[in-house]
């Protein structure tokens, strides 16, 4: 250990580098459970609402600090739920774009024509829950999320099938790209309990992509299990009759927010007075989440930490340049006792590079007395 007046050169055994996994509640405020699902009238009024719905913990229309927690989207391989180009030259085929977007981003082979879920269930449509990147940090912690969906058949709980016993991380969890979405719970004393990995038609519920923070749900299996209200083909009609939407997202959700979850509208659009409207098919899942009122999840990230062990020997750092320590007139300690028994009170540790630049600083919670009869050991942690 080299101590040269004020600077102490750090030896190799005084530094420990550790990579630690830090998990926190996923939602704003690092809370683990999201029970309110607010939407923004501003976003609903925008053109992008036909693609996705941003979901907030707090009401963004009254709270300017509200943050997006996740987005909901609905995609259909043929563009069902969006006006066709024949119906509307300006249609952007929002549901088709969403389906192909997630297909390209998530499937091992993006040239696969459709999403295939367990049970050999090919699905022409998907629900997508895309968690805000700032919320999940590095990864949505597998085995530690729970989504409750409510419908006419009751409340059902969905988790992933990483089979992660609480407190014991299963092999391959971190390297796995995808897990199945299943019904079950993680609150058992034994950890994860899977009740069913498929619905009554043997169709898988969906896939979970932890690194991407995305959950893809199979609408067919979810609707069959949870129970959404069918939306009859044909129209136009009003929303309460479960028929084709003929209004804006805001007008649609104003009504749909008060009724049972609606199935996606996948029939041919009839239109109203020659005008054709997007169907906002993400709404059924949103409404089911609102009624389920519980989406628990954790974020996880690896934090690289350096630990510096600051060992202050008994004869070190007992004198101070603090002006109040010094009697500038006499050039002696201002406190008489310190002239024969010097004391200092450490409040700050400065970490320097070879060029004497102060590159990091740590503060103690309260002053630590240092004298010739006292040694100190301070562990300074620096996270990257």
């Amino acid at each position: 250990m080299a101590h040269d007046g004020i600077f102490h050169t750090i030896e190799g055994n005084e530094i420990v580098v550790k990579n630690v996994e830090v998990t926190t509640g996923l939602w704003s405020g690092d809370t683990g459970s999201l029970v309110t699902f607010e939407t923004s009238n501003t976003q609903l009024g925008k053109n992008n609402s036909k693609y996705f719905l941003n979901v907030y913990k707090d009401d963004p229309d009254s709270d300017s600090t509200a943050e997006v927690q996740f987005s909901l989207a609905y995609g259909h391989v043929s563009g069902a739920g969006s006006p066709t180009l024949t119906q509307d030259d300006a249609s952007t085929l929002a549901t088709k774009a969403v389906y192909f977007q997630f297909k390209n981003a998530l499937l091992d082979n993006p040239e696969d024509s459709v999403f295939a879920f367990s049970g050999s269930a090919n699905s022409d449509d998907i629900y997508a829950i895309s968690i805000a990147r700032s919320r999940f940090k590095s990864i949505v912690d597998p085995g530690n999320w729970v989504l409750k969906l409510s419908g006419s058949n009751g409340v059902f709980t969905f988790i992933d099938d990483s089979n992660q016993t609480l407190g014991l991380r299963a092999d391959g969890v971190r390297t796995g790209n995808r897990f199945g979405v299943v019904s079950g719970s993680i609150s058992s004393a034994n950890g994860t309990v899977i009740e069913s990995s498929v619905d009554s038609n043997s169709e898988g519920y969906g896939w979970f992509y932890p690194q991407k923070g995305i959950i893809i749900l199979n609408p067919s299996a979810i609707i069959n299990t949870v129970g959404f209200t069918a939306r009859a083909t044909g129209g136009p009609g009003d929303v309460t009759a479960g028929q084709e939407n003929t209004g804006s997202a805001t007008a649609f959700t104003t009504i749909a927010d008060t009724i049972a979850p609606l199935e996606p509208f996948t029939g041919s659009l009839v239109g109203n007075g020659g005008n054709y409207y997007d169907q906002y098919n993400w709404h059924g899942l949103y409404r089911s989440m609102v009624l389920g009122a519980d989406f628990q999840a954790r974020s996880a990230e690896y934090v690289s930490s350096e630990h510096f062990f600051i060992r202050v020997a008994s004869d070190q750092a007992n004198d101070s340049n603090n002006p109040t320590w010094i009697d500038e007139t006499t050039g002696t300690p201002s406190i008489e006792e310190f002239q024969y028994d010097p004391k200092t009170f450490i409040t700050t540790v400065g970490l320097y590079n070879d060029s004497n630049e102060l590159v990091a600083v740590a503060k103690l919670s309260r002053p630590l007395e240092k004298s010739q009869t006292k040694e100190a050991l301070i562990r300074v942690r620096l996270d990257f």
Binding site: H3, D4, G5, I6, H8, T9, I10, F308, I310, V312, D315, Q316, A317, N318, D319, S320, N321, N322, T324, W325, E328, T330, G331, T332, S334, I335, E336, E337, P342, K343, T344, F345, I346, T347, T348, V349, G350, L351, Y352, N353, S355, N356, E357, L358, V359, A360, V361, A362, K363, S365, R366, P367, L368, E369, K370, A376, L377, I378, R379, R381
Partner: protein
């Protein structure tokens, strides 16, 4: 039988502005530490405490400490030193910068092109040994660390230290002639140079292209004693 106290104080460090800049440049390293007692006012040490000597420092030790300030110019103002390591033997060090000025109570003012020169041979670390206020030069060989709080006020040549990744390390290459483009200044605005035996001189030349007057500070401290002097400089536009 009581438990032994095996407490290790653990504290979290935060990167300073300069530390974050070095991290982004890939030149981040930590090689040494120092301690300070910033925020402690020793007049709170009460040797007349009615409960006796155990309570002399009670007020200081009970005081909560502010969070770390992530600014390299604002933290570590008063450094603790080891008297025995530098043969101070209880004497208190003090910097003598009389070669630069004898009055630091008001700002030193520079016009564009004028230079402020720090020379290791003329900066003295002194002590007051005879209790009458007279300064005596301390016979130790000490490097001096100079921190310019806002390097946009001056062009700097000399001393030892790091510069931006794309800029020349003018300290090592040619301390007296190499300059650098203003685009290579530290984003943090803080310039740290050390006067060493090999690179004993730092010249700060007031910039001539300032569009507004800059008032900033310079801190000089001994790399062994920690004796510090901070003063204000103004560079006119």
């Amino acid at each position: 039988m009581a438990y032994l106290d095996n407490t290790v104080i653990t504290v979290d460090a935060v990167l300073t502005k300069l530390g974050r800049e070095r991290l982004s440049q890939g030149t981040f390293q930590i090689t040494k530490w120092a301690l300070s007692d910033d925020e402690v006012d020793y007049s709170l040490y009460n040797a007349a405490h009615p409960l006796g000597s155990d309570y002399y420092s009670n007020i200081i030790e009970s005081m909560p400490v502010l969070e770390a300030i992530p600014d390299e110019t604002q933290a570590m103002r008063y450094k603790l030193y080891t008297s025995n390591a530098i043969q101070l033997d209880g004497r208190i060090p003090e910097l003598d910068l009389s070669d630069i000025s004898t009055d630091f109570t008001t700002a030193l003012v520079y016009n564009g092109g004028q230079s402020l020169i720090f020379d290791r041979s003329t900066i003295k670390t002194k002590t007051r040994t005879n209790n009458n206020g007279d300064l005596t030069t301390l016979g130790i060989d000490e490097d001096y660390v100079i921190t310019l709080f806002n390097e946009r006020a001056f062009d700097a040549i000399g001393g030892e230290g790091l510069v931006g990744v794309s800029g020349p390390n003018f300290g090592a290459a040619d301390p007296f002639t190499t300059s650098r483009a203003s685009t290579n200044r530290n984003a943090s605005n803080t310039l740290v140079r050390t006067l060493t035996e090999d690179l004993p001189r730092l010249t700060l030349t007031a910039r001539e292209d300032l569009t507004s007057t800059i008032t900033t500070k310079i801190r000089v401290f001994g790399a062994k004693t920690g004796a510090t002097k901070t003063f204000t400089v103004t560079v006119n536009s």
